[in-house]
Amino acid sequence: MIQTAAMICLGIGILFNTLGVIGILRFPDVYTRLHAETKMTTFGTIFLALGVIIYAGWMLSGTNDSQYLTLAIHTAIAVIALAFTNATGSHAIARAAHRSGQLPDPSVVDRLAEVKSRD
């Protein structure tokens, strides 16, 4: 039962990671690729880690080995660090891309370029 839950979490994680990678290969410009990268791979990795945490909790209740407690807590810390740094890093990439003069290619509205051209 618990094994099935961990397996489902791993499956969802792999699915979203796959869609994220397909997204960065398919989308037309940098900003839409960033959408795919940031959201999908972060969400996928959160689910992978959730699967690992469920598995570690199951092993902990079975064997009572403190190694699995360490595994679960460290995995949670790694994922929290990853979620924060990924969001901030994608913000930095988007800002750098706009500063280097790359405008969103198919775009219906661009308020930032309007403000920059007015200055």
Binding site: G13, T18, L25, V30, L34, E37, T45, L71, A92
Partner: protein, 85 residues
């Protein structure tokens, strides 16, 4: 159960190869940074799964440090591309 972790690690390795394709063909520098960032995230996920597969908890500590260092790398490259360095 261990087989499933192995399959997941294999799929992640395959995905890293596909992301490396974007790293190779990406027309502009920001595209390449996006691909690099994807690879970093996938490597962290793969390390967490490897820690379970091999039974070595120390791999997760490596994953934490790798996540923080790859963030620093992304920030440095972005600053360089944006012309603030």
């Amino acid at each position: 159960m261990n087989d499933i972790f192995f399959i997941a690690i294999a799929v992640l390795g395959l995905l890293i190869l596909f992301a490396a394709l974007r790293l190779a063909i990406g027309p502009t520098a920001p595209d390449r940074v996006v691909a690099l960032d994807t690879i970093n995230t996938l490597v962290v996920g793969g390390m967490i799964l490897l820690a379970v597969y091999l039974g070595q908890t120390i791999f997760v500590d490596v994953a934490i440090v790798y996540a923080l260092l790859s963030f620093l790398g992304t920030i440095a490259i972005s600053k360089y591309i944006g012309g603030e360095l």
